[in-house]
Each structure stands twice: as C-alpha cells, then as structure tokens.
C-alpha cells in the first residue's frame, strides 16, 4: 500500500466524521474536503477495482470484459460513456451503461444477470461489481463532451418516454421527478435542488455522477441516484437497468449534451 492510498483512506474516514455534523454548512465542508484531496478522490479506489474486474477472466466462460462493445466497437472504453445511452443493433434495444454491462457479463462471461440485478448497489458490508465496473468505464470519459444521439427512432422514442416518466405523477404523495426538479432555485430543507428542465442544471447534475458520497462512504452510480430519488418520490423500486430507468437516463443525458463529463465526482 503506498502513501497516497493510506492518505486517501484516512481522508475517507475523516469524511464520514464530517458528514455526521450539521447539514447547514455542507457546501463549505465539501469545498474544504475537496481541497484536502485535490490530488485524489476516494472514488479512485472503486475505479481501480472496476478496472481490475474488467480485465480479469470470470464467470462460467472464464472470459474478461475486454471484448465488450459499449457502442464504439468491441473493447473501446475511452469516450464510450459520453455517448450512452444508445441503440444497440445486437440487442435491438436502447441501453445505458449498466444495462449494456449486463449484456456483456451475460454473453461474454456467461454470468446470470438476475443474480447481479438482485443486489446491484454497494453496501458498507459488500461492494458491488457492476457498480465498480460503472465507475471504471465512466472514468474513461472524464473530460470528454457528452454527445448522446437521438437520431435512431428508438433513441428518439426512449427520450420521449423518459421525458414522460420525468413528469409522471403517482404514489401516495402525487410526486413526479418534476415536483422537486422542475423549478429553479428551490431547496428541500437545506439541500439545493437542480432544475433538471434547464440545461445548465441538468448538465451539472448529470456529469458529476458516479460520485463518492462522503455521507455514505461509498461510490454511487447514476442508477443509484435515480433509485434513491424514486424512494424519496414514494414510488416502488425501479427494476435495475430496466427500460424505465434507461429511458429516464436518456432524457437526462441528452439534456447534458455539450458539457464535458466530469465524473467520478464527489458529493456530500
């Protein structure tokens, strides 16, 4: 273990303590924290873990994921995330990163995707392979401009359905995404809410995930972000990497087009 890693681990532990304090000055503390780790982010560990998983033979077929086609050709990881979700000819579907990873894990490695989707998110006790893989792949688009296409009719349809899901009110509170993210300069308690209907906010929100969450001590993916917002929306749970989540991601990703991808990021 080198000194940089030890330093980061110490900072991660410190971060958990920071998060336990008041909510009010979160943004100050985040700024402090960011400064402290200016040459690294605890998400780096998850990224390294994901890279290892990508390059290690696994599953009944004992294959690596290095031949996985994320849309830019078999094995091309660099810049792939900046163009996802997209339509894939081989599956005939629009897929986001996670649903595409599931395809590769199933076809290349012979893994059972139902087992993967049953427990898709990391917990304090157990890391998640698909989440770490996501951190790795997104990291390979850092600095690259988001350029998600809606040229294919299926892509256009996914975008249109995603927009509808964003505005879909239901559940005991009558909430939709737009209830909390449809107007500017609003907050819940002290938490600022991005207005995901305006480009600037949508870009800022989308390009900063996955993120290491200081308050949770875990690196979280965009699929996780959607999952937890559906929880706050008092909805039932969206099935992992389902069409509903892919379409919603399509809507948000297209709104982020033009901005340079900045993840894996760091959040309170």
């Amino acid at each position: 273990m080198n000194t940089k890693i030890i330093l980061l681990l110490a900072l991660a532990a410190n971060g958990a303590a920071i998060a336990a304090e008041t909510e009010v000055s979160d943004s100050d503390r985040i700024a402090q924290y960011r400064e402290m780790i200016s040459d690294g982010n605890p998400a780096d560990f998850d990224e390294m873990r994901g890279e290892e998983l990508w390059k290690t033979a696994a599953g009944p077929k004992m294959a690596t994921l290095e031949k996985c086609d994320l849309g830019k050709g078999a094995g091309v990881v660099k810049g792939a995330y900046a163009e996802l979700p997209r339509f894939f000819k081989d599956t005939g579907r629009v897929q986001d990163l996670e649903s595409r990873l599931l395809t590769c894990m199933s076809t290349l490695q012979g893994l059972n995707t139902e087992e993967i989707t049953a427990q898709p998110f990391a917990t304090e006790k157990k890391p998640s392979d698909i989440s770490s893989l996501t951190t790795y792949v997104t990291g390979q688009s850092k600095g690259i401009k988001m350029a998600v296409s809606v040229k294919h009719p299926k892509e256009k349809e996914a975008y249109e359905i995603g927009r509808r899901i964003f505005n879909y009110r239901a559940g005991p509170y009558d909430f939709a995404c737009s209830t909390c993210h449809g107007a500017s300069n609003q907050r819940i308690r002290m938490q600022d809410l991005p207005n995901l209907k305006v480009q600037k906010d949508a870009q800022g929100a989308y390009i900063s995930w996955p993120a290491y969450r200081v308050s949770q001590g875990l690196t979280r993916s965009f699929q996780w972000r959607l999952n937890d917002c559906f929880r706050q929306q008092r909805f039932p749970e969206p099935k992992f990497a389902s069409e509903a989540t892919v379409d919603l991601t399509m809507y948000l990703a297209v709104s982020a087009n033009g901005a340079a991808f900045a993840g894996p990021g760091l959040k309170r």
Binding site: Y168, A183, I188, M190
Partner: protein
C-alpha cells in the same frame, strides 16, 4: 365556390393531416410510457408496485404538464372537494406542539420506512414555518406568521383543515400531497397541524 374559400379549405385539410398524426404519436407514446412504468417497478418494503397506478387527478396533471384545460381542472377540483371527510365534531384545532413535531418529521411512506413508524408531515421540507427553524425548504410558500394573516375563526380553521386534507381541491395540480385524502395523516394529526398554523401561541405566529 370562390377561390378564397377553396384556399381556406385546402389549408384546413392540410393542417388536419399535420396535426392528427402528431396527436396519434403523442397518445401512442403516452400509452407506451404507462405500459413500461407498470412493468418496470417492483414491491420494496411498504412501497408496493401498484403505487405507480395513477388516479384520475394524477393522470390528468401528468398528461397536461400540470396545466390541464380549465374545464377539466374545475371538474376534478369539485370531485376532490366533495371527497373531503370533515371531522364529525366540527372541531379543527388540535395541539400545536404535536403539530410542530409532525412538521419537523420528513419520515413516512418510503420503502425504507416501516409500516409501524409514525408518519411525518414533511412541512419544513418545503415551507418556512416557525422563525426558529432555519433549515426549511422553498418548494412551497413561506408560512411564517400564517395565522396572524389568516385569522383563526371557524371559517379559517375549516379552510386550513380542508387545505391540508386535500390541497388539490383548491388547485388540482399543485405540488402539495393530499394528507387526508391519501391517508398519509389521521384526522387528529391534521388538527394538530391546523393548530400549528393558526394557534396564536404557536411559534409560527410569534
């Protein structure tokens, strides 16, 4: 048949062929959205999959981006108003202290809440209420000094009770949950919140 009239009909006809397919595509997408949503959500804890099924109001507000045609809006507001269950004892004010506790709590109805956990009112998530609480949200209007402005006679009490029971009876597509109508809070809890808003002793009115 004069030339002007002919151009008019031709224009109308071509407009119709333009508009109709757009509408057809839109409603096909609406239908497909509902199909996908019904398929892609699952039970988790107390949040069962059937929560994605919309009632008439939710469907109307979603369809029209929260701005339904006035006629439909008024019709559904009347229905919501008629479904309010008023307290049998004609009393509307409970205990503002219990109300403040409810207002502070953001718990309830998520899949990480337990059925037996007491639900909160979530009020401070969206509104300023007591001047002492500075961690308030801004999705709804400030309610600081609400009772001072509103007065607390029986009409005001009834108005506020109804508003908390079903905020959509006044304005079909506003953001506020229907606390009574959707059985989020009990009659007694709503009365405690009425007191928080209207009681002269409540910190909201200090």
């Amino acid at each position: 048949m004069n030339a002007k009239w002919m151009i008019g009909t031709a224009l109308t006809a071509s407009l119709a062929t333009l508009v109709l397919p757009v509408q057809a595509v839109e409603s096909k997408l609406d239908a497909k959205t509902i199909e996908i949503v019904k398929r892609d959500f699952q039970d988790k804890g107390i949040a069962k999959a059937d929560r994605v099924n919309q009632d008439a109001l939710q469907a109307l507000c979603s369809k029209y981006g929260n701005k339904p045609p006035l006629e439909l809006k008024h019709k559904i507001e009347k229905q919501q108003q008629a479904a309010i269950k008023w307290p049998a004892d004609d009393k509307y004010m409970g205990d503002w202290k219990a109300g403040e506790k409810l207002a502070q709590s953001g718990r309830g109805m998520t899949w990480s809440d337990k059925a037996e956990d007491p639900a909160g009112g979530n009020c401070y998530n969206c509104h300023q209420l007591s001047a002492k609480e500075i961690a308030y949200g801004t999705i709804g209007p400030s309610l600081l000094h609400f009772g001072v402005k509103q007065g607390n006679d029986l009409d005001s009490q009834r108005y506020v009770y109804g508003r908390l029971y079903n905020a959509k009876a006044d304005n079909a597509c506003n953001n506020m949950p229907r606390f009574g109508h959707m059985k989020i809070l009990t009659e007694a809890q709503i009365k405690d919140l009425v007191a928080l808003l209207l009681d002269p002793e409540s910190p909201v009115n200090k």
